[in-house]
């Protein structure tokens, strides 16, 4: 081995590559291209004229949709953030926890819609839906931790990540086997049907409900983490697991609690998401899961306000972004490319500000 320590660049055919600051060059080019494309996209979109002109009510509309979507992303993102904060691992299967909760509540929703209970007693019915979703999501999350993650807590970092990917695949296909592979229409109570119109801006009645619910839940979570003893224990474990356990904190219990909280949030998000989009399916967890992870990274992984902010930005970027950036460039069906925007944001955040917007900038972790 010792002989290899001599830099190989002298004789190696790739020596020139090493002397070039490849990374810097590519990053600079990337930045310039991005600024140019985004800039011209926005300018051209806003200066579209004639029949193509998009007026402000169109944008306001997208904005409300985006905020509602962002609120759901924020709830899921909190699950990633909390687990990452405590275990330093990406719980890749969190999107599936969300899906399982939504799917479980669907059966009650369908039964209630059939019996009319959903419309006569919407609040009680919604209560049951949330409860079911929360219970199932928490169950799945805790089981996941117990079976797939706990035995590997001290394994090399890639190992739990691979299990998490496996668990995600497993849960998704379990749902497909148990509940069928077709998507099912998720009923909404009558009082949440239809749209509200304020001036020229109209949006679905469900959107403000989603936003308010998410804000309430996030405030409660923040209070829990900051004010209660368990919250304090969570913060302690997040800072240093070993020292925390020396201080008499039961680390296993804190980890389970973290997964429980993540499950609760995912269950709530599941019902809200299913009601917003009116359907559930076994594959519904994948894209929101990735988007929420992006939101968590964007806001600064490990930070609760960060997840909220990240979710908001990402939701708006996904709904407004495609039209704002691409319609001016005459790209056909821009909404199809929203996934590209999500992932581009993820890549850019990780490259330029790995700690996230509100994060501590943990350079070592990235």
């Amino acid at each position: 081995m010792a002989n290899d320590a001599v830099p190989a660049s002298a004789g190696g055919s790739l020596g020139w590559l090493e002397r070039l600051p490849v990374r810097r060059i590519i990053l600079t080019v990337l930045t310039v291209v991005l600024v140019v494309v985004v800039g011209t996209g926005i300018v051209k979109t806003l200066t579209l004229s004639g029949t193509e002109h998009l007026d402000w009510s169109f944008w306001a509309n997208l904005l409300v949709i985006g905020i509602a979507l962002g609120a759901v992303y924020a709830l899921i993102a909190l699950g990633y953030t909390l687990v990452y904060g405590i275990l330093r691992m990406i719980n890749f299967a969190h999107g599936e926890v969300f899906m399982m909760g939504a799917f479980a509540s669907f059966f009650f929703a369908a039964a209630y819609a059939q019996s009319g209970f959903l419309n006569t007693n919407p609040f009680a019915a919604m209560g049951v839906l949330f409860l079911t979703a929360i219970l199932v999501s928490v169950g799945v999350a805790v089981l996941l931790e117990r079976v797939a993650y706990r035995p590997l807590r001290n394994a090399p970092r890639l190992v739990p990540l691979i299990t998490a990917i496996g668990a995600s695949l497993f849960l998704q296909n379990t749902a497909q086997g148990m509940f069928g592979s077709q998507t099912r229409g998720y009923p909404r109570p009558e009082i949440l049907e239809g749209t509200i119109k304020i001036g020229k801006v109209s949006f679905d009645k469900i959107d403000p409900v989603v936003i308010v619910t998410s804000i309430v839940v996030m405030v409660l979570l923040e209070l829990f983490v900051k004010r209660t003893k368990t919250g304090k224990a969570m913060r302690a474990v997040a800072q240093d697991r070993e020292i925390a356990s020396l201080m008499g904190i039961d680390v296993d219990r804190v980890v389970v609690i973290t997964f429980v909280i993540g499950g609760v949030l995912a269950g709530i998000a599941g019902v809200l998401y299913a009601m917003t989009f009116g359907q559930v399916g076994a594959t519904m967890g994948f894209l929101p899961g990735i988007a929420a992870f992006t939101a968590a990274v964007l806001g600064g992984i490990g930070s609760i306000p960060g997840a909220a902010l990240g979710g908001l930005i990402l939701g708006v970027a996904e709904s407004v972004g495609p039209y704002m950036l691409l319609s001016g460039l005459h790209v056909p069906s821009p909404f199809e490319l929203k996934g590209v925007i999500t992932f581009s944001i993820l890549v850019l955040v990780l490259i330029f500000r790995p700690g996230g917007l509100l994060g501590t900038g943990e350079a070592e972790k990235v």
């Binding site: 081995m1 290899d4 320590a5 190989a8 660049s9 790739l14 590559l17 090493e18 490849v22 990374r23 590519i26 990053l27 990337l30 691992m89 990406i90 059966f107 079976v147 797939a148 590997l152 394994a155 090399p156 970092r157 890639l158 190992v159 739990p160 990540l161 691979i162 299990t163 990917i165 496996g166 668990a167 695949l169 497993f170 849960l171 998704q172 296909n173 497909q176 086997g177 148990m178 509940f179 994948f286 990735i290 992870f293 990274v297 790209v331 056909p332 069906s333 199809e336 490319l337 996934g339 590209v340 992932f343 581009s344 993820l346 890549v347 990780l350 490259i351 790995p354 972790k365 990235v366």
Partner: protein, 612 residues
């Protein structure tokens, strides 16, 4: 001791019961129930119902460390434990059945679509509720008892028995390969396979005896030792049999001769394989080959360089789509076939180097911005790249180039002038094309493994900072890994395009990346034989058993979890890699072995082994 064993037995039995309920509820049991294993008496359904009990009692009767001493339970404890395990599992299944019949099958079915009267019937072995329950409890108890007792027998007894039983199931499942091969060779096969494709009882016994005998004589590790080109140095060995202390092949031919003959036999087998097994199986072998290429490429990135790339499907797509547009593929549009906005009509073998170069370039391009990311962040960003690639190739925006949702058609057949092989129309011919590229990729991987580059990757994977400090340019080697891995993966894509002649974006889901990952994880990261085994098991087996098709991803997920929990080094591990994952245990084991073999004076120190 007894109390500990019994507590484990109850818990393991409960897990076994839940496992049976799980395979029932996801529909796997009903799907596989009709698959005969031996005659019509034993079906895959029976195996699935009883396998969890067998595995659980095996675990329950395993030796445990009590007060620092490793002890096996005695026969009576093991027997009781096996019985308890079997009965507990059966009790849980019976309880679940009772709940279902209390609620009514139709009610349960509204939620769990797989629950049906037929499923209930299978779990009751086709009998009435009472008789079925008795059979279930009795058979689980017997299986539990048998496997628990087997567990405490010496390895020379239990390994052959388990191997033989396993072989019976495999032989029954492989009838689509073995039967046509027997036909081609004009060998009588009726004694082995029953009319409806299960083994006959005679066949089952023969298979059992053959395989059990082979396991007893350690033929497997002997074969492995023969195939290894050089006698391995003592410290690097993974089994007690293959160690190079005493060479068992010092016959008249010499060691080299034996090795050479063994490889010649394998080469001959590979050459005649498609004509032995027929078109259908050849097609499956073709897709095994394509995933073998993907696995080998991903193995370079993940296994050698330690960069977890979940966007590997991007290279598969690049290979396929660029092959399509460079070899005169046409876009399928509403107005018929149209040439892409940019394209060429090059012969396949001219286009291929260009495609590979493009893939390598894209590897560098997507590798460069993420050079500083490690571990899980890298995984998720590359996942993003894979998804971006999929969206772009299928987008309306780039429809003029890649055909959008309808994809590309009329892709080259890659025929070689003067050689009558029709790669697109005949799966048996396509096999040779795939084989050639697989051999090339294996050769490249093998030569890279311990080359300067390979060793640099190794160092980087184990500790990036230390590697950097030792003068290894991590930038350069990371980019190189992305480029080479991408190039190999694009070969898979190119062959995929040739094999079908047309492409749609549906073939390039993120699941391709995860399948390739499962392939290399199953066999063992960084191990070339491991990739081959992984591709054969995970692509070949579900291909043969169409019943598995809907459940293949479920199984991949389970494989990823199970391997990481139980055997993170994989089934056919790379020696050095497995050291990393089990560093402490292995060191201890070797010290212990070292202490036991104090007679052999020159036993190497455990830390010095893996440096060649």
């Amino acid at each position: 001791m007894r109390r500990i064993v019994l507590r484990t037995a109850v818990r393991a039995g409960a897990i076994a019961g839940i496992a049976v309920c799980f395979v029932s509820i996801v529909g796997l049991l009903e799907r596989l129930a009709e698959l005969p294993i031996i005659a019509t008496t034993i079906t895959m359904g029976d195996v699935l119902i009883l396998l969890p009990a067998a595995a659980a009692s095996w675990v329950a009767a395993s030796p445990r460390v009590i007060a620092g001493e490793r002890r096996s339970p005695d026969l009576s404890t093991a027997a009781v434990a096996g019985l308890v395990t079997g009965v507990t599992g059966a009790a849980i299944v019976t309880g679940a059945l009772a709940i279902v019949s209390w609620l009514g099958v139709e009610t349960v079915r509204r939620v769990f679509i797989a629950v049906s009267p037929e499923l209930i019937d299978i779990l009751r072995f086709g009998q009435s509720a009472v008789v079925g329950t008795v059979i279930l409890v009795a058979s689980s108890a017997v299986v539990g008892l048998a496997f628990a007792s087997l567990r405490i027998t010496p390895p020379d007894v239990r390994r052959p028995v388990v191997g033989g039983l396993f072989a019976i199931v495999v032989a029954a499942l492989l009838n689509r390969v073995i039967e046509p091969a027997f036909d081609q060779l004009n060998v009588e096969k009726d004694w082995l396979y029953a009319i409806n494709h299960g083994l006959t009882w005679v066949g089952a016994i023969v298979v059992f005896v053959l395989v059990a005998g082979a396991v007893r004589l350690h033929l497997g590790s002997k074969l492995r030792a023969i195939l290894r080109p050089e006698p391995s140095p003592a410290g690097v060995d993974d089994g007690p049999e293959g160690s190079g202390r005493r060479d068992p092949f010092a016959g008249p031919l010499g060691r080299r001769g034996v090795t050479l003959i063994a490889w010649a036999v394998i080469a001959l087998l590979l050459a005649v394989l498609p004509f032995l097994v027929g078109t259908v199986v050849s097609r499956i072998l073709g897709s095994v080959g394509i995933f073998l290429l993907l696995g080998l490429g991903l193995n370079i990135v993940v296994g050698y360089a330690g960069l977890l790339d979940l966007g590997y499907v991007a290279f598969f797509a690049v290979g396929a789509y660029f092959t399509a547009i460079l070899t005169g593929g046409q876009r399928l549009t509403a107005a018929g076939y149209q040439p892409p906005a940019f394209g060429a009509s090059l012969p396949f073998y001219v286009a291929l180097p260009i495609v590979v170069a493009i893939a390598a370039l894209i590897g560098v391009l997507i590798g460069a911005p993420v050079l500083r990311l490690r571990g899980d962040y890298l995984a998720i960003v590359t996942l993003g790249f894979g998804e971006i690639a999929r969206v772009l190739f299928g987008s309306v925006w780039l429809q003029n180039l890649f055909g959008g949702a309808l994809g590309m058609s009329k892709i080259t057949t890659a025929e070689i002038p003067g050689i009558p092989l029709h790669f697109q129309s005949d799966a048996r011919h396509f096999y040779y094309l795939v084989l050639a590229f697989c051999l090339l990729a294996i050769f490249v991987s093998w030569r890279l493994q311990w080359s300067r580059i390979g060793r640099a990757w190794n160092a980087m994977r184990e500790d990036e900072q230390v590697a950097d400090a030792m003068g290894i340019s991590t930038t350069r080697y990371k980019l190189l890994a992305f480029a080479i891995g991408g190039a190999v993966g694009s070969l898979g894509g190119a062959l995929f395009a040739v094999s079908l002649g047309s492409l749609t974006i549906a073939s390039f889901k993120i699941l391709v990346s995860i399948t390739a990952l499962a392939v290399i994880i199953l066999g063992g990261l960084g191990s070339i034989p491991g990739v081959i085994v992984g591709a054969l098991v995970l692509i070949g087996l579900p291909g043969l058993l169409t019943q598995f098709e809907d459940y293949r991803l479920l199984i991949y997920g389970a494989v990823l979890i199970a391997i990481m929990l139980l055997r993170p080094q994989g089934l056919v591990p790379n020696v050095r890699r497995s050291r990393e994952l089990h560093e402490d245990e292995r060191l201890q084991d070797q010290w212990a072995e070292h202490a036991l073999e104090t007679e052999s004076v020159e036993a190497p120190l455990p830390t010095g082994g893996a440096i060649e």
